[in-house]
């Protein structure tokens, strides 16, 4: 990795996508959401839906019907680890799952605050644009794949390829993370309070990975960076807000960024690329 340009911070010059991104890193996050053409909901208006005996499509339709009726807080009972629950919600909403989700849970969401009192399977919150998701137990692989904005929190461990291809937002892991965490990430931040398995940040273009424990090994193009004071404060606040009991103080976290080999490759002329590939 000698000779690579180390990037010290991606905070100040980052122009993130997603509706809630502009002021996202302020502590008063809930003021920063803006929504277009969505239903007005009353957070004090509460309902519950039992997932027993119905499929994902039916449940998702019931959630939409409840939103249209103005319900701002919805509790899903007996999710039973079914797949594709709670996907495509583009509204302000408090959504609580009283149990575990299967694969592709709450994908493509923009705005809701989701709490999952259980575990999530593969590809939870894939392509999430904004909002906040808290998982009380563990998460499977590809947690937060292609994340574009918002906060995605798991209090236990997360599987392999966490944050693969992410383009914004923050993933916070209270425990350990699997191999290839941050694989091909392009923007955003991943915070891991525990250890990370092999090839962390492999082929990352940009973004930052903060690690409280130790990464087993770094992937191609992932290099250590230097923490600044602003980042330490931000880390402290994020971990505190997520109510995660992290044994490592924020100042002891290690920071990893892209070495930008791939970034440079993208800037090459086609003829130069051809030379490399040949």
């Amino acid at each position: 990795m000698a000779g690579l340009t180390k990037k010290t911070s991606a905070f100040d010059d980052e122009n993130l996508s997603g509706r809630s991104q502009k002021l996202f890193f302020e502590v008063t996050e809930e003021e920063n959401y803006t929504y277009y053409g969505n239903h007005e909901v009353d957070f004090n208006k509460r309902t519950s839906i039992d997932c027993e005996g119905i499929n994902a499509h039916e449940l998702n339709q019931k959630i939409r019907d409840s939103i249209r009726k103005g319900y701002g807080s919805i509790v899903i009972k007996n999710p039973g680890a079914k797949h594709s629950l709670g996907v495509g919600i583009l509204n302000k909403l408090n959504l609580i799952f009283e149990g575990s989700l299967g694969y592709f849970g709450i994908g493509c969401i923009d705005g809701p605050t989701v709490r999952i009192n259980g575990r999530v399977g593969w590809s939870c919150a894939e392509n999430m644009m904004s909002g906040k998701v808290v998982v009380e137990n563990n998460a499977g692989s590809c947690f937060g794949a292609a994340l574009r904005g918002g906060d995605l929190i798991v209090k236990g461990d997360a599987g392999a390829r966490t944050g693969i291809d992410m383009k914004g937002g923050t993933i916070l892991i209270g425990g350990n993370a699997g191999a290839y965490t941050g694989f091909m990430m392009q923007r955003g931040r991943i915070i891991v309070c525990g250890d990370v398995n092999a090839n962390m940040g492999d082929s990352m273009y940009d973004g930052i990975i903060f690690v409280g424990g130790e990464p087993h090994s770094l992937g191609t193009d992932c290099v250590p960076g230097e923490m600044n004071e602003h980042e330490v404060r931000w880390l402290e606040q994020k971990i505190k807000n997520a109510e995660i009991d992290c044994k490592v103080p924020a100042s002891k976290f290690k920071k990893y960024v892209a070495g930008r080999m791939l970034w440079n490759y993208d800037n090459l002329e086609p003829a130069e690329k051809k030379g490399i590939l040949g």
Binding site: A81, G99, N137, D157, A179, A198
Partner: protein
């Protein structure tokens, strides 16, 4: 995309047939082509239980070369004659289909010689031989196969199973999982994934004299484990070795007479969810399968890449 599952009840005999049936039915969407069970009942004190087939399930094939009743009768008679020749005494026999049989027999000779000769009979394949292992596989979903072979009341300690979406070979019984680790009694394997160095490994193992009945890449895991065990290597070590020596993306589950194990490749590309309690361990490609036997909320986890786990009955 296939579905695999396993369950082991610690120090307890339960209706493991029902447990496996429910779990595999929950994985039907991962593979509707065929379903297979490797069930471990109360071990026989004397003799062996053998499951074998003498033809394929041709029901769904158009213009198939379907075997006549006489063909089937002749093959069964040939198997019986070989058993008799080797001094095996069949004490009980039954069949759920015209092409699949279950024999219990007393035998004191070389099991490998016996099994090898039985498989010389046309279209005949031994699915399993063991003290407790009974391997059943056929076309259709878990409930179809379970009903067909009467597995709903199978009492035992543990079992593994597979729902198959055929990608590398045909839709037939011989390409369905689980695979028995010929000739080791009571060892079976189910696999989800693709092995990229299959042919290279197969040639090496064939030169050592191992037999392959299908062109399914998953079969090599069973043979590989058998080869390791023949060298005196314990199951867990053999599974660890497989992570480096088998190439590709895979998660597999293996069972012996009193153990259940799982291994996940270095890329963690194929899923596995595990639930462990003091009484039972259940693992499956998806939690939704485990939840079919635990309707209440349970705490599960994904094993990480290059992880091997073995549990005792």
């Amino acid at each position: 995309m296939c579905g695999i599952a396993g369950v082991i009840n610690k120090k307890k005999t339960v209706n493991v047939g029902e447990q496996m049936g429910l779990m595999l039915q929950g994985l039907k969407h991962r593979g509707p082509d065929s379903t297979g069970y490797a069930m471990y009942g109360t071990p026989l004190k004397k003799g062996f239980v053998m499951r074998f087939k003498i033809s394929e399930n041709e029901a769904e094939k158009v213009n198939a070369n379907v075997d006549s009743p006489d063909d089937l009768k002749n093959r069964k008679n040939a198997v019986d004659a070989i058993l008799k020749k080797h001094g095996a005494k069949v004490t009980k026999q039954s069949s759920s289909t015209p092409y699949a049989f279950r024999y219990i027999f007393d035998f004191k000779g070389d099991l490998t010689d016996l099994a090898t000769e039985i498989e010389t009979v046309e279209k005949t394949e031994i699915l399993s031989i063991g003290k407790g292992l009974e391997l059943i596989k056929d076309l259709g979903d878990a409930t179809t196969v379970s009903d067909q072979y009467g597995l709903n009341k199978f009492m035992g300690t543990h079992g593994i199973g597979h729902t198959r979406m055929a990608t590398e070979s045909d839709v037939d019984i011989k390409s369905a999982h689980p695979y028995w680790a010929f000739p080791f009694e009571d060892v079976s394997v189910v696999h989800n994934g693709q092995l990229t160095n299959y042919w290279g490994n197969r040639r090496v193992l064939e030169r050592k004299g191992y037999r392959f009945n299908s062109n399914c890449d998953s079969e090599i895991i069973a043979v590989y484990i058998a080869d390791k065990m023949a060298k005196g290597i314990v199951l867990e070590k053999a599974m660890h070795d497989s992570l480096d020596e088998l190439d590709g993306v895979f998660t597999y589950v293996v069972a012996t007479k009193d153990q259940l194990g799982m291994a996940k490749d270095h890329m963690a590309a194929k899923p596995m969810v595990i639930y462990e309690s003091k009484d039972i361990v259940a693992c499956a490609s998806e939690e939704v399968a485990i939840r079919n036997i635990f309707p209440h909320e349970i705490k599960t986890y994904d094993p990480y890449e290059a992880e091997v786990k073995v549990w005792q009955a």
